[in-house]
């Protein structure tokens, strides 16, 4: 049994220590956002934030996460009370199938938490670990820029992280 802090709440998890974080999030904590894409760290669909940094949860064993803060897309906001990044993706209609989107949003969130005014070049470089097959890249880039502007006028700190402090 291990204690995992996810979206500001502590969870007792009964899983083998080598279990990648992705499976714990999806199966034990029943969160949907982080997705299985490749299990190899090649596509970014599983990305979550750990202590402020974007992490590929499909290749990160649970045992490395003792005492750390894990944030998933669910921890940022909800459909009725979306966080700035979620609002931005809705306003730009930045998805088609959307399977890759949660991972991309989490890396963008991590970027915006440390750099509130990234250049277009910085956003593209940051998102390079991520694949999108529907070709919604133009909208994704616009949405990240929009999120940066929204965060400029709002509290960028996710609600869940705020509660955890």
């Amino acid at each position: 049994m291990m204690t995992l802090k996810v979206n500001g709440r502590e969870h007792q998890v009964d899983a083998d220590p080598d279990t990648p974080l992705l499976y714990v999030l999806r199966e034990d904590i029943k969160l949907n956002a982080a997705k299985f894409g490749c299990g190899l760290g090649q596509c970014g669909a599983c990305t979550v934030i750990v202590d402020g940094k974007a992490v590929l949860s499909c290749v990160t064993p649970m045992v490395l996460l003792e005492g750390k803060q894990v944030t998933t897309l669910e921890g940022l906001g909800t459909a009725s009370e979306p966080a700035p990044i979620q609002r931005a993706f809705m306003e730009e209609q930045a998805a088609q199938c959307g399977y890759c989107i949660a991972g991309i949003m989490m890396r963008a969130q991590a970027l915006l938490q440390r750099n509130t005014k990234p250049t277009d070049e910085q956003i593209r470089t940051e998102l390079d670990p991520h694949l999108c097959r529907c070709g919604t890249h133009m909208r994704i880039l616009r949405a990240v820029h929009r999120a940066a502007r929204l965060m400029d006028t709002a509290d960028a700190t996710p609600a869940a992280e705020g509660r955890a402090r």
């Binding site: 899983a15 083998d16 279990t19 990648p20 499976y23 999806r26 199966e27 029943k30 969160l31 949907n32 956002a33 997705k35 299985f36 894409g37 490749c38 299990g39 190899l40 090649q42 596509c43 669909a45 998933t72 897309l73 669910e74 940022l76 906001g77 909800t78 459909a79 979306p82 979620q86 993706f89 809705m90 209609q93 930045a94 998805a95 088609q96 199938c97 959307g98 399977y99 890759c100 989107i101 949660a102 949003m105 593209r124 470089t125 998102l127 390079d128 991520h130 694949l131 999108c132 097959r133 529907c134 070709g135 919604t136 890249h137 133009m138 909208r139 880039l141």
Partner: protein, 743 residues
């Protein structure tokens, strides 16, 4: 519910532990069995095959309205478009409707969600069903109020009399009112009064997708659900010779090992336990491999030397060919992968002899037929429910995963079984987009116009989708296997390998020959745009080569050969918005390219101009910007249409510049994103602009696939413009460009 209570019309389907009463789908079948002597004009869209209005629209006494479609939402956004169409024609608020998508227990059989046909088939059916439902409600109000129909209007879910008296749809609807067959013609609204159609309504599926709501079949969690993984053979046709499962069965969490011939799978309580056990089982399995795959680097010779059935699909000889200058060219396309970001997934459950499968298949009814045949169950005992998956872009592993889940669930009655493929399984086992070869030859007359045109295309079929069990891997691998069905060429006018092979341009002499190749050395099926991707790439590249030979600007050259006015309009719009000028010169190391097609020669029109930069040192191409113009008839959701075209350009650019499936003499070797690289953010264009030419009142034309071919040719033409070298073999990789520059 307004379900008619006529018991003999009622069909009871059981699935997922719930009883579903289906009352309106038998109408189509009844009509098929007993055709009228003189066929009356049929109603439009899918109303032809499913004519009862309540198969599409149901209104209950509280005024709740549910719209049904047999098509599947694949991320293309039409669930929102259908809701707009129904809201518009019913005169109700957009938010007040609910749309239910493909489910063999609930919706019409609309075959596959494919070929950019959803708006044309289902959108048209919903539009007409909604308009006719509204007419019936108005007629009922007229009867109750004793007023002429002309004096009544509808607004916000009610019929309104001149004195302001309102009768809500819920009050007006009676038991059997909508259980009537659609009329051939509907009183559709005047397009000038549209309030919902034509607006960029935000997509209904996006909020859940950007907040971690349950949006995909991958997110399903049923009580007592177990996780399964498959151990696939290492190559096509490999035989399982030995497999000691005893050690795997003792691993933590393992519930069962399922073996049926060469089908090998295991089930565990938790997902990562299943993956670990899959690895152990894979190590224990011994296979005998026999596959003999063709030479990947010589597809031209491979395809043109296989036996083919040749048919002349177009021939015109109006005047003796007076060509003075003749050129020939050969273009090739490799096998390419759908490459869904999420590997295929399905959940299945067997309860009391009834199998329910939740799947991201594009065709719940054909897939049900295949699964029922595989399980030797009556189709009525199998229910398939579409749940969104990762984008598929055609026939990927979805149907196979559904069959996997059903076969395993049969071995564990009562327990829901969730199967998800691993990345390497999706990459190695999905049915790829077929490799193709085209050979073109044309002559110019003295006036620089095309005098004669010859087009030959070699291709496999472009659909091996289920219908029968033999299309699905699990059924092929069972101890008593189902044979892969014989491939058939898809009929024109839509076509398969010959899709868009017939030129839209007018040439005095032309001949188009389709060389259909039945032998399939690599597993293939439908991939977005089918043969149109390569055929349009070939035609539109060759048009540029001919324009160069004629010394005419490529846009002007196209217009000189095109009579279709809507086609001319998109070409002119894209050229104007791009800033295209005859005799222009692109900046240093850059090139401009142009291409155009009407998808299938009967769906949406699309023209694309692009600017590509080529690094002469490395050969690396970069699409800097693209400008598209599209005409898809009446536009329902302009932002949805723009999203589709933007996506088509970006995806086609990835296919065109980077992608080919690789294999050695027995195995597929492109098994992940390193061995099958696709576009990443560093190569995303600076801008993509999409201009819509709206055609109010004109039929919906499918647009989901219209951009694939023009984007490819536009980029190829821009690379030729930038380098002076013509590349004819897809993909147009950095290496090939560099070799061409250095040659």
């Amino acid at each position: 519910m307004t379900a008619p209570m006529n018991i003999d019309r009622r069909r009871v389907l059981a699935g997922g532990g719930a009883l579903i009463v289906s009352f309106s789908l038998s109408g189509a079948l009844a009509q098929q069995q007993d055709p009228p002597a003189a066929a009356p004009p049929s109603p439009p869209g899918s109303l032809k095959t499913t004519p009862y209005l309540d198969a599409w629209i149901r209104i209950d006494a509280d005024g709740h309205i549910e719209v049904f479609t047999g098509k599947a939402e694949l991320g293309q956004g039409f669930k929102t478009a259908f809701q707009q169409i129904a809201a518009e024609e019913l005169d109700v608020a957009f938010e007040s409707l609910k749309v239910t998508t493909a489910d063999t227990g609930l919706t019409a059989n609309e075959g596959y969600t494919a070929g950019s046909n959803s708006m044309k088939d289902s959108g048209t059916a919903i539009q007409n069903a909604a308009a006719q439902a509204r007419e019936l409600l108005v007629a009922e109000a007229a009867r109750r109020l004793d007023l002429p129909i002309e004096n009544l209007r509808t607004a916000d879910g009610a019929v309104v009399a001149p004195d302001g008296k309102r009768l809500s749809y819920g009050e007006l609807v009676t038991g059997d009112m909508l259980h009537v067959q659609a009329q051939p013609k509907s009183k559709l609204k005047d397009t000038a009064t549209f309030k919902v159609i034509g607006r960029p309504v935000p997509r209904v599926d996006i909020p859940a997708k950007v907040t971690g709501g349950a949006a995909y079949v991958q997110d399903m969690r049923l009580p007592r659900m177990v996780h399964a993984r498959i151990v696939r053979p290492p190559s096509y046709g490999a035989q399982l010779t030995e497999c000691d499962t005893s050690a795997v069965e003792k691993l933590p969490g393992v519930v069962k090992v399922v073996r049926d011939g060469n089908f090998l799978a295991l089930v565990a309580e938790k997902e990562f336990q299943a993956i670990k056990a899959m690895n152990a089982l894979g190590a224990a399995a011994k296979w005998q491999e026999t596959a003999r795959l063709p030479r990947q680097d010589d597809l031209l010779a491979v395809l043109t030397s296989l036996p083919s059935q040749n048919s002349t699909i177009f021939e015109r000889s109006n005047s003796p060919a007076s060509g003075r200058k003749t050129i020939e060219a050969t273009y090739t396309r490799p096998y390419q992968a759908h490459g869904s970001i999420g590997p295929s997934c399905a959940v299945a459950q067997l309860i009391d002899g009834k199998m329910t499968v939740w799947t991201h298949t594009q065709g719940v009814y054909p897939d049900r037929q295949g699964i029922a045949e595989m399980l030797r169950m009556p189709p009525a005992s199998v229910r398939l429910i579409h749940v969104e998956g990762s984008g598929c872009y055609g026939h990927n592993g979805a149907d196979d995963a559904a069959a996997d889940a059903a076969l395993i669930a049969r071995a564990l009655p009562g327990r829901p079984v969730r199967v998800q493929w691993m990345r390497e399984q999706e990459h190695a086992w999905e049915p790829f987009g077929p490799a193709m070869v085209t050979k073109l030859k044309a002559s110019l007359d003295d006036g620089g116009k095309i005098a004669d045109w010859h087009f030959d295309v070699w291709s496999n079929t472009h659909s091996m989708r289920p219908g029968g069990a033999g299309s699905m891997l699990a059924a092929q691998h069972m101890a008593h296997p189902f044979a892969v069905p014989a491939p058939r060429p898809l009929p024109l006018p839509e076509g398969g390998g010959d899709r868009n092979a017939i030129p839209i341009y007018t040439f005095p002499n032309a001949k188009v020959v389709h060389h259909f190749i039945p032998t399939m050395p690599i597993r293939i099926s439908a991939m977005r745009a089918l043969g149109a991707y390569h055929n349009v790439f070939s035609i539109e590249s060759f048009m540029d080569e001919l324009a160069g030979l004629a010394g005419v600007d490529p846009v002007e050259f196209r217009l000189k050969h095109l009579e279709d006015q809507r086609g001319r309009a998109v070409i002119e719009k894209a050229a104007q918005a791009f800033g295209w000028k005859g005799g222009q010169k692109a900046p240093q190391d850059r090139g401009f390219g142009f291409a155009f097609a009407r998808y299938k020669n009967l769906a949406a029109y699309c023209a694309i101009a692009s600017e590509v930069e080529v690094n002469r040192e490395t050969g690396r191409p970069h699409l800097v910007r693209a400008v598209a113009a599209v005409d898809s008839g009446q536009v329902v959701n302009p932002d949805g249409l723009i999203n589709q075209i933007e996506g088509a350009i970006v995806q086609s650019m990835s296919w065109t510049l980077y992608e080919s499936v690789t294999f050695d003499d027995s195995r597929i070797t492109s098994i992940d994103w390193q061995t099958y690289p696709i576009l990443r953010f560093d190569a995303v264009p600076e801008s993509i602009e999409v201009h819509i030419i709206d055609r109010p009142g004109q039929p919906f034309l499918g647009s989901g696939e219209t951009g694939q071919g023009p984007a490819a040719a536009s980029i190829a033409n821009a690379i030729a413009n930038a380098t002076g070298k013509r590349l004819r073999n897809l993909p147009l990789t950095r290496k090939r460009i560099k070799e061409a520059i250095d040659a």
